[in-house]
């Protein structure tokens, strides 16, 4: 029976090629616009570490107080990064299962081959627990250990890309690398690892960044060597001393922090510890205000930091609006098309076809238009995703990808949406009174 309906649908569609083409075009454009903007939205709003994001937390401590918040802030949100004093206090208390303070660095690396220009790389100064906490994949070797942290060892973890550049892709564990003019022993080479958004340091990356992170060195080593932070520095008051050491003694914020807390008990324990810490600071006279801390998991923190650009959301909404108009358009045209065949429906009904058969026949026709629109939509989505780099900043455009799930979704949305648009016209067609139709002719 289905093949019969297909044949009927095909014949009907051929009868008015202009109308059919119009419906297919409308569905194609509507679906393609929605899917292209969806591919971007999906990329920027995705969970960068879905298996663990609900266990990773970003603590925030109010070291500035209500006065330090500046004229623009309306809410009582504490600063989104940490100063050196508090980050160190949290590290030393070591209350979470795994934790790391980190800051962005941009050291120069001098290749062994002296004829080559030195290169600037970007990376982070982190603690050893950074690597197991974030499930960072290693190609060779591993991260350093806790002793290296405290001994400020000259060790480094480098990216696979930098390893290709400096060591020709060979296993470089144990070999030496010159960072800022000092020798470091390579202990690990990362596999492909480029999480987007950069959830572990949203504040400095703004969420997305084009390059990969090339170098990781022990936090306390970087501090001891005076490796300056390359990320943002925000101050509520003037540091009383100048230079990088002055920055460490100030309340300026420039350090990101992440902690792994495995269950609700650990979270509430950590939360009350933070409050206790802030209260101690208040008692000691360092904070002149009541504890005002936050402890958000990664998805909540990304949301609070508004990592998804509002342009991306607006584009998606406008494109969905276009799809809805296309569907309304298709519904109107299908209605006209179906009702034009009232006499045909009358004959079928008079010969004993139940309403269900009419439903099957016309929804098949709507579905076919949806399928054709979907195929056109696939092509246009391909064009759309390929050309987002023309209209979007590089760091975001490079994330949009055409993959199997997007292709499937495109077809599915086209067929389901068009069938839905065909529901009312089909309902009307099924209500045609056979007697009336036969009589009037």
């Amino acid at each position: 029976m289905f093949s019969y309906y297909l044949e009927l649908a095909l014949r009907s569609l051929k009868r008015s090629p202009g109308l059919t083409a119009l419906m297919v075009l409308a569905i194609g454009f509507g679906v393609a616009a929605s899917m292209t903007t969806w591919s971007v939205f999906r990329a920027v709003s995705g969970d960068p570490i879905p298996w663990k994001s609900s266990k990773l937390f970003v603590p925030q401590i109010d070291m500035w107080g209500p006065k330090g918040r500046g004229p623009d802030s309306a809410d009582n949100e504490p600063p989104n990064a940490m100063d050196y004093t508090d980050a160190m206090a949290l590290m030393h208390a070591h209350r979470a299962k795994l934790q790391s303070a980190m800051y962005q660095i941009s050291p120069s690396v001098v290749p062994a081959d002296a004829s080559k220009h030195p290169i600037n790389v970007s990376g982070h100064a982190v603690y050893s627990e950074f690597f197991p906490m974030l499930d960072v994949p290693f190609l060779y070797g591993s991260g350093w250990n806790a002793d290296d942290d405290t001994q400020r060892a000259a060790v480094a973890v480098i990216s696979g890309k930098l390893n290709d550049k400096l060591f020709g892709g060979a296993n470089s564990v144990g070999r030496t690398l010159s960072i800022e003019g000092k020798d470091y022993r390579v202990v690990g080479v990362l596999g492909h690892w480029n999480p987007q958004p950069r959830f572990y340091d949203v504040v400095n990356t703004g969420g997305f960044s084009i390059g990969v992170e090339d170098v990781f060195v022990p936090f306390e080593r970087a501090i001891a060597m005076g490796m300056p932070n390359d990320g943002n520095t925000n101050c509520s008051e003037i540091p009383s001393e100048s230079g990088f050491v002055g920055l460490q003694r100030s309340s300026c914020i420039w350090i990101a922090y992440m902690a792994q807390l495995d269950d609700a008990a650990a979270v509430s324990g950590y939360r009350s510890w933070l409050d206790g810490y802030a209260k101690d600071q208040q008692t000691a006279g360092r904070f002149g205000w009541a504890p005002n801390n936050r402890l958000r998991d990664v998805p909540a923190f990304l949301d609070q930091q508004k990592v998804v650009p509002s342009d991306t959301k607006v584009s998606l909404l406008v494109a969905l609006g276009l799809l809805i108009v296309c569907l309304v358009n298709t519904a109107g045209l299908l209605l006209a098309k179906f009702l034009r065949r009232s006499s045909e429906i009358g004959v079928r009904r008079a010969l004993g076809a139940p309403r269900l058969a009419i439903y099957a026949q016309f929804l098949t026709e709507a579905g076919m238009i949806g399928l054709a629109g979907g195929v056109l939509g696939l092509l246009l989505t391909g064009v759309g995703v390929a050309s987002v780099s023309w209209v979007l900043p590089k760091d975001i455009a490079s994330l949009a990808r055409l993959d199997f799930s997007l292709l499937t979704l495109t077809l599915l949305v086209a067929v389901v949406a068009t069938t839905l648009a065909g529901l009312y016209p089909t309902f009307r067609a099924s209500r045609v009174q056979p007697a009336w139709q036969l009589k009037s002719n």
Binding site: P71, N120, I324, A336
Partner: protein, 411 residues
């Protein structure tokens, strides 16, 4: 014009009427908001930077050895001397940042040393006596820095310049109605370091993408010093028509000065046109995207009206024939379909206007967006009514050509 019979006829195809009206309403709502976004973004694109942009380029040089500040200072002066001596180069100056850079060092500006809240916020541009000439920015009052006033400082030290040059907009914000020239302001966060305004430039844009803080978009302070950071920016003005040559020569000259530097191959050297393009990329992109969607939307709505009206004309050939046989002119038939479309269109745009404003009000609460001006709704209403009339014209003309003989045909 007979409206009653048209309304009576509409009652027979209620669903189709409602669907067209709904489509017009949604199209109007979306297109109004899209056009408004386009206008807002293109208005940003056409703002002046205050910089003579042609023949200007920017080199970012990072020091590979991160040597001590004194050495950096000597190297920077040698670099500048080498750049200025090039045949293709008109002038060059060192800085940390420049208009449209996309981010940089901002300071709060105060008018008194004990002031708690800032008066405003401004971009900090380190400069020397060549900076204004290199940028092509004119002074509208006061004087330029002299060579002897140019100092140097380390990046995390507080600013300490006794003289500064400020942009026109900053001057007006700090001293509304009066002249800023010769006045004392606090650019440094250090209350013991006041600065005297010795010059005021014409319009000069700040470096930030400032959609959230549009008030600061043209606030800039020129500090007479070289910033001894991990790297520096050189602004270079090529002699007219020699931009490409100057860009090539300058890079070569800098490497000849010292190889212990890093100039990124991709964006280490950029023309100011590239700087502008990068700064406004997301604005232009959003405008283009909204433009494409609007055009597709209008085309589909127009085509939908053509399709549905054509169907109605086909359905009513017999009635049209009867009317023609009873004495209706071609003009009457044409008028009938145009009026029918106008009525549906008016219903649609009324609903659409309400929807457009509703959507905008919601977006204002959700995103950084301004209130939709009613002029856009008015333009959208007229445009959609005209679009509807245009779309219905072809089927209506076909209807007017239906011969009265049709009345006598049975099917």
């Amino acid at each position: 014009m007979q409206i009653k019979p048209i309304l009576a006829a509409m009652r027979h195809h209620k669903a189709g009427t409602v669907l067209i009206a709904l489509q017009i309403a949604l199209t109007l709502a979306i297109v109004c908001n899209a056009l408004f976004i386009i206008q807002q973004r293109t208005a940003r694109l056409s703002r002046p930077s205050g910089v003579e942009e042609s023949n200007l380029f920017v080199i970012r040089s990072d020091w590979a050895d991160k040597s001590d500040p004194q050495h950096t200072d000597i190297q920077m002066q040698a670099d500048l001397l080498a750049l200025r001596q090039l045949g293709s180069v008109q002038d060059a100056s060192p800085t940390n940042s420049f208009p449209l850079r996309g981010g940089g060092w901002d300071n709060f500006i105060k008018l008194a040393p004990d002031q708690v809240k800032m008066t405003t916020d401004a971009a900090i541009y380190f400069a020397d006596e060549h900076s204004l000439a290199t940028l092509g920015t004119k002074l509208i009052a006061g004087r330029n820095f002299t060579a002897s006033e140019i100092g140097s400082q380390k990046p995390r030290d507080q600013l300490s310049s006794a003289q500064v040059i400020i942009s026109k907009d900053l001057a007006q914000r700090l001293f509304p109605g009066g002249s800023a020239l010769g006045k004392t302001i606090y650019v440094s966060a250090d209350a013991n370091k006041p600065s005297t305004v010795i010059g005021i430039t014409d319009t000069l844009q700040a470096h930030m993408q400032s959609r959230r803080t549009p008030d600061y978009a043209y606030n800039a302070v020129l500090i007479p010093a070289r910033l001894l950071d991990d790297g520096t920016v050189y602004l270079v003005r090529a002699k007219p028509g020699q931009l490409a040559a100057a860009m090539h020569d300058a890079t070569k000259a800098l490497y000849a000065q010292s190889r212990m530097r890093i100039i990124d191959r991709k964006d280490g050297v950029m023309t100011f046109a590239q700087v502008r393009q990068r700064f406004y990329k997301s604005d232009l992109g959003m405008a283009i995207l909204m433009g494409i969607i609007s055009v597709v939307l209008l085309a589909i709505t127009a085509a939908g009206i053509v399709g549905l009206t054509s169907f109605w004309v086909g359905q009513r050939r017999k009635q049209i024939g009867v009317r023609r046989a009873l004495g209706a002119t071609r003009g009457d038939i044409l008028n009938y379909f145009l009026t029918e479309n106008l009525l549906i269109g008016i219903g649609g745009v009324l609903a659409g206007a309400v929807l457009a404003i509703g959507i905008n009000l919601w977006m204002v609460t959700q995103f950084e967006m301004a209130r939709l001006s009613l002029a856009y709704v008015a333009v959208g209403v007229v445009a959609l009514l005209l679009l509807g009339q245009g779309a219905v014209l072809a089927p209506a003309l076909r209807a007017s050509h239906v011969s009265p003989v049709e009345a006598t045909r049975s099917v």
